[in-house]
Structure formats: structure tokens, C-alpha cells
């Protein structure tokens, strides 16, 4: 516990040192107790170590930051599930938090728990006015900052950051009627909810109200995905495609499924070797070694894929019905894209080594 002479003194100290720069809700004992009603977990149980600080995050610690972010108790279970995915060492949170790149976790929630938790997938899903998305994403960010120590200019060496570092959490539309949901494609049932996390750049908008075929629309999306400034261009890895319902219907109405999208973009979101040499992050040693998995890096006309494989594309339908806009989210390739399902009982599993270290 921290003690201050007055509430105003506490507020000033928290906004100065424990915030993302925006006003926060003070985590008083009453508010934290109310937040903890959102989970059946033992508040003292430890979720894991958050790097680069390596501080331990208990369920209570997460609840404290959730209060500060303006989240609701019904969102705590989702927040802890997202953090469990981020604390998986394959995600390389230590790298995501400390890189000079603008990397930040993109969180996609697919399944009914998203909406039971107050998340949204309609108009403006990636922007303002989405209280649930913003609060859940912000709670995650505050955990990464306060428990993980990822403060700009201290251990977070991101040169410019991105607005997505404040909050980057979306729900998937389950009513678009195009394909099975992301969670179902990951092996879940329609009743289950999955969390997908990817180390990400900020989103890039794709506008297209002209394309009536999947090929024409996906050529537009491919062009956005292969932009030279993204690390994807030099390092084939993962990307997320957040399709608006209108764009999804252009593709689905032609009989294409999500695997078809991945195959098409794997083949068409490419840059020739000469172009990669001409601009961007061409590393004379590393880049040819990445390219050699796909073709001859000495052939200037060889077209290098942005995606490591057709399956490396994450596709989710989200956004309103009012137009043809989608978003491409490229990747920080030094961390893995992961997904996990939110367990029915709200429990979680951790590598034993992490728990034993914490409780030693």
C-alpha cells in the first residue's frame, strides 16, 4: 500500500509516475476489492513475471491496474487471460517492451466473452468511443508499464511509439455470416473465446469501395502489407488483417474462405529483391538468409513474401457496416503470434518454473 497526505496528493503522484499520461482512477482498497469480484482466482496467486523489470504480477496487482484504467470487474477475467498470453516467453515481451521499434501487443478477442465483457466490434472499433476495448487494452498497457517497468525513455526505448501503445484491443464480429470465427478456426467451439496476441505496428487503413472481386480487393490489401518501411518486408513473418464486414462479404460471396485469403496474400504481398536492396531494412547478411528459405536472394527479380506462410496471416472481421475500409497490422518479427482460450473457470496455466521462482 502507498500512503499520501491527501487524495489530491495521491492523484498527482499517480498521474505523474504510474499513468500512461492520461488521468487515472485511484486504486483505493474498496475499488480494488470490487474489481476482484470479477474473478474467482485467489488475489494472491501470481500470474507471472513481467519483463523487463521482472516484477511479479498477482491477480490483485492486475486488478489494481485495471481499476486505474477505468475497466469494469466483468473485464478482469479477460485482462488476466490476455496477460497470460503476453507472459508466454515465446511472445518475447522483454523485447517488445524495450525495443527501439514502436512494437506493441495487438489483442484480438474472438468469442462470446468479448461481448459479455463489454467489448465492441462495430463502428470505430479501433478508435475512440469504444469503452470496453479501450479500458481492457489500457489495463494491459498499465500492467506492462507499472509492473513490467516499460516506461518511455527508461527501459522502453521506442523512438516514436504509436497511439496503439495506449490501447490496442478489438473484438471480432460474430454476426458477419462469412466464415467460422477466428476462435473456431483456432479449434474452439462457438461458445469458447480466444485471445490472439501479436507484436505489432499500428494499424494501416485500406480504403476500397470499387473492388467487386476478391482478387482486386486483395491486391489493394497486398500493396498495403508489403510497404517497405515495415519489418515484414525484409523479414517474412506474420500480419493481421482486420476486415470490415463489407470487404469480408466481397471475398466470401465469391466462395473464398480464410485459407484462400492467406494463400493469395502469401503469393501477392511480395517485393522483388531489387526493391528490397534499393530501399528499406536490407541487411547484407541477415536478409539474404531469410530470403533463402523461399528463393534465390541473388536473383533481383525474385519476389520475397511478406508472410512466412499462408497460415501466418491472422484474419478477423471487425468494424461497422457503413463502408469498405479494412486495416492491415504488420508485425514486429522477434516475438511469436500466440493464441489461447479463456478457460471456463477463469483459471490459467503457467510454466512451473515461473511460479516456483515467485513462491521460492
Amino acid at each position: 500500500m502507498l500512503e499520501y497526505s491527501t487524495e489530491a496528493a495521491a492523484y498527482d503522484a499517480f498521474v505523474a509516475r504510474h499513468s500512461d499520461g492520461l488521468p487515472i482512477v485511484l486504486p483505493t482498497p474498496d475499488r480494488v476489492a470490487a474489481m476482484l469480484a470479477g474473478t474467482r482466482e485467489d488475489p494472491d496467486d501470481v500470474l507471472g513475471l513481467v519483463f523487463p523489470s521482472g516484477n511479479a504480477a498477482s491477480i490483485r496487482d492486475v486488478a489494481v491496474n485495471a481499476v486505474m484504467a477505468g475497466a469494469e470487474p466483468r473485464q478482469l477475467r479477460l485482462i488476466t487471460a490476455i496477460l497470460e498470453a503476453l507472459l508466454d516467453q515465446r511472445f518475447n515481451l522483454n523485447g517488445v517492451q524495450s525495443t527501439t521499434h514502436c512494437a506493441t501487443p495487438l489483442v484480438i478477442v474472438s468469442g462470446p466473452l468479448a461481448f459479455e465483457s463489454g467489448l465492441s466490434a462495430g463502428n470505430g472499433v479501433l478508435g475512440n468511443g469504444q469503452r470496453g476495448n479501450l479500458a481492457v487494452g489500457r489495463a494491459v498497457r498499465l500492467v506492462l508499464t507499472n509492473i513490467g517497468g516499460g516506461r518511455p525513455g527508461e527501459t522502453d526505448m521506442s523512438v516514436q511509439g504509436t497511439p496503439a501503445k495506449i490501447s490496442f484491443c478489438v473484438a471480432e464480429r460474430l454476426d458477419a455470416g462469412c466464415w467460422p470465427s477466428l476462435a473456431e478456426r483456432q479449434g474452439g467451439t462457438a461458445a469458447e473465446t480466444s485471445i490472439t496476441v501479436m507484436p505489432a505496428d499500428g494499424p494501416v487503413t485500406v480504403s476500397d469501395h470499387r473492388s467487386a472481386t476478391p482478387q482486386r480487393l486483395l491486391r489493394n490489401i497486398a500493396d498495403t502489407m508489403r510497404h517497405i518501411g515495415s519489418l515484414n518486408a525484409a523479414i517474412p513473418s506474420a500480419a493481421a488483417l482486420l476486415l470490415s464486414p463489407q470487404h469480408a462479404r466481397v471475398i466470401a460471396n465469391a466462395g473464398w474462405n480464410v485459407a484462400d485469403i492467406g494463400r493469395y496474400l502469401f503469393e501477392h504481398a511480395r517485393n522483388p529483391v531489387w526493391r528490397l536492396r534499393d530501399a528499406g531494412e536490407w541487411d547484407p547478411v541477415k536478409t539474404p538468409s531469410f530470403i533463402a528459405r523461399y528463393g534465390d536472394p541473388e536473383d533481383p527479380e525474385f519476389r520475397v513474401p511478406v508472410l512466412a506462410s499462408p497460415e501466418s496471416l491472422i484474419v478477423a472481421i471487425t468494424g461497422g457496416d457503413s463502408g469498405g475500409f479494412s486495416a492491415v497490422v504488420t508485425n514486429w518479427p522477434a516475438g511469436a503470434v500466440l493464441h489461447r482460450f479463456v478457460d471456463d473457470d477463469g483459471s490459467y496455466s503457467l510454466p512451473r518454473s515461473a511460479r516456483e521462482r515467485v513462491h521460492a
Binding site: 500500500m1 502507498l2 500512503e3 499520501y4 497526505s5 491527501t6 487524495e7 496528493a9 495521491a10 499517480f14 504510474h18 485511484l26 486504486p27 483505493t28 482498497p29 480494488v32 513475471l49 513481467v50 523489470s53 521482472g54 516484477n55 511479479a56 504480477a57 498477482s58 490483485r60 496487482d61 489494481v64 491496474n65 486505474m68 518475447n92 522483454n94 523485447g95 525495443t99 527501439t100 498499465l142 507499472n146 509492473i147 541487411d283 514486429w332 522477434a334 516475438g335 521462482r357 515467485v358
Partner: protein
Amino acid sequence: MTFVVHDPRGTRIDPAPSLAPRPGSLAGLRLGVLDNGKEQANVLLGRAVELLAGDGLTPVFARKPSFAHVAPPEAIEALAMCDIVITGLGG
């Protein structure tokens, strides 16, 4: 009467890291060099080693395979045998 709130920083497991005392002289010390794998880090560190070589130091080099990941255990073990370690960002 005070106003009490929860600390949002979790629980520190390891003691807070601090810099080792600065050596008064480099004579006879073992020098470690951690190249983080970033572009041109070897250029910067190579020049630093050249300058330090005048003090008779023989460096132990360790390199991270990727600047985006933590140093592998064998690199840490090699550097742990040194008295002083220099590194740099590169880029």
C-alpha cells in the same frame, strides 16, 4: 489521517540492479565486450577496445545472436568472469 491506495508496481523479485563501483585503474582487469548484434555495434565497440588495448587489456567478446532477444546464458557466463564489461546500442 492519510489516503491509502494500492501500489500498482507488483512485487519485485530480484533486488534492484545497480552499477558496480567504477574501477580506479584498468590495469590488470579482465575486459568483457557484449556486442548486441545491432548494425555497426561491432564498429563502435571495436574502436572502444582499440582504445582500451593501450591499457594492456585483453578483451573477451560475446555476441547476441539477435538484438531483440536477451543474451544467451553462455554469453552471460563468459562476461561474468570479467571485471568490467562494455556494451553499446549500435544502430
